[in-house]
């Protein structure tokens, strides 16, 4: 057998390319053009009788800031990226909202970056509605939108590019403490210049009169819709919320942004993403949630996990590691 070395491997390839004696060019048919298009990103699974559709909004790719992880040096972060064979100095952040059909309710949980971002990002992000349609779900049929927190990648999809309502027939259910915080003019006045101030402005832009007409607040510890219980997981934002979806004996934990990308913040729960508004509280929350997920062997649906963003987690080193579920060809 041939030895596996780079030289052998690719010199063999080069050698073969140089000889033109292969006997398979008897076809006179035209070559097939490249498709140039990715599969629509959606995936379906059941939790008891509840049907969940993950429809990816796509990703964002950007040059990583020096303080992307505020308490860790960039070269250490780069080493963590190298461990998962990702490009140095670059962040790729996936966005994965879900749609839940409980039988009585058709609910979208978080809305992605919005249709306007599709053009802005050259189609890399803002895909949620397209993928939802590919999965056979009409946005007009959505009767409930559940918002976990008020960052742009979770709320901007409430509006289409022309600022009309994405879900014209839906109630918009929001966490009481999150709504209170971001709609409070005093908090807005005291907000740190820059990112937090910008987020206040974005919240006020998105929550226009038509959106506000449909907004209802929900409480932590209670069911938001049948089978979906809200759980306070603050830190990332003051009112940041996760959910337990339960039906029959089956459960899934929809973590929202308890961690940002798993290859950094599940592995290293003590790393503080600059997105975490109260980083210490976010870390406490992270450890509690992940200890529970490990102890209960519960699946987690992670907004910033790579599509289809459903995984089990295990302890690993001083943190945790996600084990993506095997793609199920049936549901």
């Amino acid at each position: 057998m041939i030895k596996f070395t780079r030289r052998n491997l690719f010199s063999a390839a080069a050698g073969a390319a140089a000889t033109a004696a292969l006997p398979f060019d008897h076809s006179v048919r035209a070559a097939t053009p490249a498709a140039g298009k990715q599969a629509a990103g959606w995936y379906r699974y059941k939790i008891g009788t509840i049907e969940v559709t993950v429809a990816t909004d796509g990703v964002a790719r950007f040059k990583m800031a020096e303080d992307h992880v505020i308490n860790i040096k960039k070269d250490v972060v780069n080493a963590a990226l190298a461990e998962v064979f990702m490009e140095k100095d670059m962040m790729t952040t996936p966005y994965n909202p879900i749609c839940i059909n409980t039988g009585s309710k058709l609910a979208v949980v978080d809305t992605g970056t919005g249709e306007a971002n599709y053009e802005k990002s050259n189609g890399v992000g803002g895909q949620f509605i397209t993928n939802l349609v590919a999965s056979g779900i009409d946005r007009a049929a959505v009767d409930t939108v559940i918002i976990s927190h008020y960052h742009g990648d979770h709320i901007n999809g409430l509006l289409m590019a022309d600022n009309s309502l994405t879900y014209p027939n839906a109630e918009i259910l929001v966490p009481t403490p999150e709504h209170k915080y971001w709609m409070d003019d005093g908090e807005m006045g005291r907000a740190e210049k820059g990112r937090i101030e910008g987020n206040f402005k974005n919240v006020r832009r998105v929550f226009n009169a038509e959106v506000l007409k449909r907004v209802k607040t929900y409480e932590w510890g209670k069911e938001v819709i049948p089978g979906v219980t809200a759980q306070g997981t603050p830190g990332h934002t003051p009112g940041h919320t996760s959910y337990v979806i339960a039906s029959g004996s089956d459960t899934v934990y929809v973590q929202s942004d308890v961690t940002h990308v798993p290859f950094l913040f599940v592995r290293h729960p003590d790393w503080h993403a600059f997105y975490d508004q109260d980083a210490d509280m976010a870390e406490v929350t992270r450890r509690k949630v992940y200890d529970m997920l490990v102890a209960d062997k519960m699946r987690v649906q992670g907004f910033h996990y790579p599509f289809p963003s459903l995984a089990h987690v295990e302890k690993y080193g001083t943190g945790y590691r996600e084990l993506p579920v095997v793609w199920n060809p049936t549901i």
């Binding site: 041939i2 510890g221 759980q231 095997v326």
Partner: protein
């Protein structure tokens, strides 16, 4: 914040369900409830290797009760523990199947064909995946088999026994062809049910195309930029492929391992399907040592869809780092 324990969680949920007074929002919507879709996405995924466009297609997956000798050289308890650690269904093992299609620009090449029709509802999904990906079976120029096990060859035929890729040249590794088509080898295998069935299947699927089968040799290109690599052990002629275009390259391993949760983590475990398990283990070590050293992207027929990842050394074995789904190509 509330304590995050399962007990509290569900006590909370139960209490809420019991009280009906808290949510003022249930009665308003006049929408009919949407019926469940009940349908999974057709599973295909595109990626580029240089100028080549590749499509990974999931032919499906099966979960079956773990046979006592699924891993021949370790106690079953240990194999069950590995399955449990990978969150497979209790007492079962889950094996996915992922053929690959490569458009080199001049040739449209299918590597392995999946199970074909009639095995189980959860497999034989290659035609559906190809349809969803917009690939016409008639447009396939070359069908290359890595080896001649049923999950790699049976999809050559449609339910009515016709060749599913009517315009394709059909290629098989010389050494596997010689092994499986030998009547002498078949006669020797009659007391081994698995092998007996495999021999019979090879003839059932391939007899009528035997005349037009192209046999290929290791170390040579089977199509432009796609080189056959000798990785014997799993079967005598088992083959992997290096796909190279521009400065990019990947390794399509075929069955150097069956499921990575078992045999990449534990390369010395012998899966029941390896015909020469010692040689297969030796091949595994060589292949993954190279893949890890080269940081090569590896595509695995039995990896979980989209079945693409990188290999790192971990303990006495290796671990697969799956690539993150790219929403564009």
């Amino acid at each position: 914040m509330m304590q995050l324990t399962r007990r509290k969680l569900f006590a909370g949920a139960a209490a809420v369900t019991a009280s009906t007074a808290f949510m003022p929002l249930m009665g308003r919507s006049a929408l009919a409830s949407a019926p469940a879709a009940g349908k999974q996405a057709a599973a295909f995924y595109r990626y580029k290797v240089g100028s080549y466009e590749c499509t990974s297609i999931n032919d499906g997956a099966v979960s079956f009760p773990m046979p006592d000798t699924f891993v021949k050289n370790i106690p079953k308890d240990q194999a069950l523990a590995a399955a449990e650690a990978a969150y497979m269904p209790k007492g079962k093992v889950t094996v996915p199947f992922n053929p690959q299609i490569i458009n080199t620009g001049s040739k449209l090449v299918l590597i392995d064909t999946g199970y074909g029709p009639g095995i189980a509802p959860s497999v034989g999904l290659l035609p559906a995946g190809m349809a969803a990906a917009g690939i016409d079976p008639k447009a396939i120029d070359v069908v290359v088999r890595s080896h001649l096990h049923p999950d790699h060859i049976n999809g050559l035929k449609t339910a009515d026994g016709k060749v599913a890729f009517p315009n394709a040249e059909i290629m098989a590794p010389s050494q596997d062809w010689a092994f499986w088509m030998s009547d002498e080898n078949m006669a020797k295998a009659q007391d081994n049910v698995m092998m007996k069935n495999y021999f019979a299947n090879t003839r059932k699927i391939l007899s009528d195309v035997a005349g037009k089968m192209t046999k290929y040799d290791w170390g040579k290109e089977v199509a432009p930029g796609i080189t056959a690599l000798a990785t014997p052990g799993h079967t005598p002629g088992h083959t992997s492929f290096a796909v190279a275009s521009g400065s990019s390259k990947i390794l399509i391993q075929s069955d150097v391992t069956n499921i990575p949760e078992f045999f990449l983590r534990n390369p010395d475990w012998h899966v029941a399907y390896d015909i020469d398990p010692v040689k297969a283990a030796e091949t595994r070590h060589k292949f993954y040592d190279m893949a890890a050293a080269e940081k090569a992207m590896v595509v695995g027929f039995h990896f979980q869809f989209p079945s693409i990842g990188y290999v790192e050394k971990a303990g006495t074995g290796y671990r697969l780092i799956p690539v993150a789904w790219n929403p564009t190509i």
